[in-house]
Amino acid sequence: MKKIPVTGVYFHYYTNGHAESINFLETENYIKKIPGVIILGNSNELPPIDKQLFIKKIQELHIERLVIAGYSPGMVKTFFTSAMLEAGQDAEKVLIAGFNEYGAIKKSDTELAKIILHFTIAGLSLDDISTYSKKPVNENTLVIGGGIAGIQASIEIANSKHKVYLLEQTGTIGGHMAMFDKTFPTLDCAACILTPKMVEVGQHPFIELMTYCEVIGVTGEHGDFKVKVLKKARRVDLADCIGCGICSEKCPAKTPSEFDAGTTLRKAIYIPFPQAVPNKYLIDAEHCIYVENGKCGVCVKVCPADAVILDQLDEEVEINVGNIVLATGFSTFDARRAENFGYGKLPNVLTSLEFERLVNASGPTEGNITFRTIDKKGNPIFTNDSKSPQSVALIHCIGSRDLTYNQYCSKVCCMYSLKLAHLVKEKLPDAEVYEYYIDMRAYGKGYEEFYERIKGEGVHIIRGRTAKIEQTNDKLLLRSEDIENNRLIEQLVDMAILSVGIEPRADSNSLAEMLEIVTDNYGWYIEENSILNTTNTNRPGITLAGVCQGPKDIPDTVVHASAAAAKVIQNIILQKTKKAIDKVMLSEIETTLKD
């Protein structure tokens, strides 16, 4: 082993919002024993210590190299580089060992922290560690989630002629993207670019579609996972159903349609949307009259293909896979929580997802923007019978960038709001459209240009988030500050659209527990390394794709999913499995380092 230069180690105790920290003292004691290492101190202050005293210390102890360890210790790095420079040493020899970067966050991760620090002192990166071992990898892959991320990852993997199980919780693949009308910034319709991909998945010889299924248990390890899948009873035979829709026509039970974000009703036997893949019906047991009280069964009688099996039961199957791709996506923020905006109480306050369905040609009104009405049974729905609004307001950042709800930025709302503003203008050219924002985050390719274009279309784009919405007579009163023009606006509009942010799915934490992977404070899955590896998780063999790792727009999701697929394909080609770093014994590392 090469003699390492005199290395000073400084611990930055600041934990950057993490509730629990690794055992710093234990790590310090471990690291002390390495020859050439001197512990220079610790603190969680900024500036960490008195600079002049520290410079003196460097000079006295002839420190040639500094390692700063802690949670994002880069935050204080410049203090140390400048101190090294002033002490007459090479400032470029300041290294940082970020525990959180490699997943050492909790007290139980102390061993990992030791490894990270030891590696940094040895002048190596943790990525250098060879923890792969040759071991057969099952060539099958499980992709959980049938949104655009899951679809993309499945197609990539299946194109390399390896089998993919694509598992989806609902009756069809497509996810949120299938619900959208147009996509920014090119305004091509989401269905036009997504449905071919869905068809491709449906027809792909290497993809086995498992819709209406859920994962209920995972055992085994990388290369050989055994996954227990619950096949929920669809109650319509996939092979027999011809998708004629007579059953749905005759079914007497109605409930709000999930695909239409509740803007209209669907039957208890239904097809999520006309372009669904598989294009077959299913029965929603919760609302089926037969399931509830044993009477009805109209669907069975009318089905020309005898495809309806009302008494079908859930079934459990087990599949063996070598890799698992998580592409579980997101759910939208529940706008009822932000009471100031009156969603749920004021009928013409919509969420962006509802509006997305409303303007969609395949939506409840064939794309006409109308007011919400109440049907005979008291369900709030949209039909073509009501009038169109003359003025529409869009409010950004609902549930995002707000400490009361979610501090993070949902990344897509600015752009989709601009798109919705455009759609309103397209459908109702005479309507006034107001858009209230905080910062306009038009960051992607062609986005800024799109923003400029929407500005040119006569949409009033106002900096200043609306604070509250109240009903006055038949209009909505919005109160906001027009920051750039120094005035207060009390705007009356007919309709308000809340640009809701995106959140991890409600079951993201329980799924994480089942898969033994970690989530952050919000519930997004944490990647192995935030810079170089945003697709791997802490558990080898489980890969992330798309929004379940953090908010993303469609292009980023697609790229992320392909990147996840790369890891899987590489793994299958190599037939090597990886050990989790925290499962590697410290002694093993030490021997590696000695080599």
């Binding site: 400048s82 420079l85 400032a91 068809v199 395949s362 960051y443 900096r463 920051i483 697709t535 990147a563």
Partner: protein
């Protein structure tokens, strides 16, 4: 030739087409034309049920020609070809009429749009009547990959491919690897070390036996086609020929030259530095003015050269966060220095970024908003009593005040542009460039890493500005495609190549001279031209040059196009005849 039995399908595309084109009227009218067996319309032809409609009709009515009038063939030609193939028909007995992008979306008069759509459908019918069956052929994929650009994107892709056991040629124009990231101190928002990261990557690349790195090298010309590309490198000692199956373009970025932005005073005022120059100060731990003093005030100007028609209309995506990173770094070394940000929208959109923004605010940074479109801050040398080096003047939008900002160092967050060699690389690799100078992707949403040329992928900042994790993701995604293609080992090749009718070839050599790919050679024995169908890309230049009509471009033959023209003008001819009759 069998008697044509044609099926015509007209798509509503929701309301995208049907709101401007009377789809039903066209369907009826077409139905009465000769040879038309089926004429239908449907809400979404591209959907599963839409495709099923075609498939079942082919089986039921024994159709042998299909026309779909819908969106651009660039979107769905392949989709329908596949469907037709599934029904057992040769996929090339198919033609698309583009009545969305080129009719319903661009016209405002329903009658005229319907007329135009009808003539396009009739033209497609006339053309498809002359279509011929073409058979699929495949070629083997050379497992080696060429990657242009040795920055973080190129290296990540190289490692992903090489670690899977395949050969990678990595071309770097500079004399070392690392690209822009090697000039950066820390990354945002978790402040990990870019230096450590890039050094470890360079180590891995240099130690990987499957990666061959060529320094100081530029690519002039690339020949071949997907699976079998080749290029000649002029190295210092000797020339070298490389053969490879796929390539990734990862040529990276170039910072905008801030001297062109007069107000900002770069070059005129010594303590105005660019972001990359400031990174050097950070790496060296030496945040000092040119006069060697510790700065009391630092101003960071965002959006320099971005989001402004005069320079670059687009957002450079990373500068906001980089600026916040500087703010934190300065604060850690200089606790008392005033830090001002002149920004226009704070784009902290990534994971952990909004939190980072708030954290930066807490460390006493002052955020001042300016109008990046019309009102760039003007910088001037400070007077004697100002107690600073530079004074910046600007209109602050959030307070509505004209303000002066004292500064000792001004950091310019300059925009990212595509590297100046993109044009040359684009030409060599046969890919397009978008209006902002970046490589153009195949599809901005669903395929941002592929290009219109098979086997050529783009990744990283040469596609559009992006940060390190996004560049790395693109590199991986491109690697995924290539790994797939290598592991499958074969790729289907272009079928719409040129073909010579040996009976009438006059041996004039005209086609050989015009072919840009040298795909045509002369068979001395038979005294006719011969097309190498693997090299031929089907541009058809030879066909239009051939004096005897012996060489023709498959799928775009003279006969096909001439009858397409006839069909195209049939409607207006009928119309003008009708008008004349009325006049009479």
């Amino acid at each position: 030739m069998k008697e044509p039995k044609i099926g015509v399908y007209i798509c509503w595309c929701g309301t995208n087409i049907s709101h401007m084109v009377d789809v039903k009227a066209i369907t009826e009218e077409i139905g009465d034309m000769p040879n038309i067996k089926v004429s239908r319309n449907y809400k979404y032809m591209c959907s599963d049920p839409g495709q099923d409609l075609i498939i079942s009709d082919i089986k039921k009515h024994k159709l042998n020609r299909i026309v779909v009038a819908a969106c651009s063939p660039r979107i769905h030609e392949l989709t329908f070809r596949k469907a037709i193939e599934n029904a057992g028909l040769n996929p090339y007995l198919f033609e698309m009429a583009n009545i969305r992008e080129q009719v319903s979306w661009v016209h405002t008069d329903i009658e005229a749009a319907t007329e135009k759509a009808k003539s396009l459908v009739i033209a497609a019918i006339s053309k498809v009547t002359h279509h011929e069956e073409l058979e699929r052929r495949t070629v083997d994929i050379n497992p080696a990959t060429l990657i242009i650009g040795g920055g973080i994107t190129g290296m990540t892709a190289a490692l992903d491919i090489a670690e899977s056991g395949f050969k990678v040629y990595l071309i770097e124009r500079d004399n070392k690897l690392g690209g822009v990231v090697s000039k950066v101190d820390l990354t945002f928002p978790y402040m990990s070390s870019a230096q450590q990261l890039i050094k470890s990557l360079i180590n891995k690349v240099s130690n990987n036996k499957n990666i061959e790195v060529f320094f100081n090298t530029k690519i002039k010309e690339i020949n071949g086609y997907v699976g079998n590309f080749e290029t000649k490198l002029k190295l210092q000692k000797k020339a070298r020929e490389l053969k490879f199956g796929n390539m990734i373009l990862a040529t990276g970025l170039k910072p905008t030259d801030p001297e062109s932005i007069h107000e900002i005073g770069y070059g005129r005022l010594p303590d105005v530095v660019t972001a990359l120059e400031f990174e050097q100060m950070l790496i060296k731990g030496n945040i000092k003015t040119k006069a060697g003093k510790e700065p009391n005030n630092i101003l960071i100007v965002h959006c320099v050269g971005s989001r402004n028609e005069k320079y670059n209309p687009y957002c450079s995506r990373t500068c906001c966060m980089t600026a916040l990173k500087y703010s934190n770094q300065i604060r850690s070394a200089l606790p008392k220095t005033s830090i001002y940000h002149a920004y226009s929208d704070m784009r902290a959109f990534g994971k952990g970024c909004e939190e980072f923004y708030s954290q930066t605010g807490r460390k006493n940074a002052v955020f001042l908003m300016y109008d990046q479109k019309n009102d760039i801050p003007t910088l001037r040398r400070a007077g004697k009593n100002d107690r600073c080096n530079i004074i910046a003047h600007m209109y602050e939008k959030l307070s509505g005040e004209d303000i002066e900002i004292p500064a000792d160092i001004v950091i310019l967050m300059i925009s990212m542009e595509a590297h100046e060699n993109v044009k040359q690389v684009a030409h060599a690799a046969g890919v397009s460039i978008c209006s902002n100078g970046f490589f153009m992707e195949k599809h901005p949403k669903l395929d941002p890493i592929a290009t219109t040329t098979d086997g050529v992928y783009i990744a990283g900042t040469c596609q559009s500005p992006k940060d390190i994790p996004d560049s790395v993701s693109q590199a991986r995604a491109a690697a995924a495609r290539i790994l797939t293609s290598i592991s499958v080992g074969k790729v289907e090749i272009e079928l719409t190549t040129a073909v010579v009718n040996e009976d009438i070839c006059g041996a004039c050599h005209t086609c050989i001279n015009v072919c840009p790919y040298s795909a045509i050679s002369f068979d001395e024995e038979k005294k006719v031209s011969v097309v190498n169908e693997v090299i031929c890309k089907g541009c058809g230049t030879c066909s239009s040059a051939c004096p005897t009509g012996a060489i023709s471009a498959r799928h775009f033959t003279d006969k096909q196009i001439l009858s397409q023209i006839e069909g195209l003008l049939a409607v207006s001819n009928k119309l003008s005849e009708k008008l004349e009759m009325e006049e009479v």
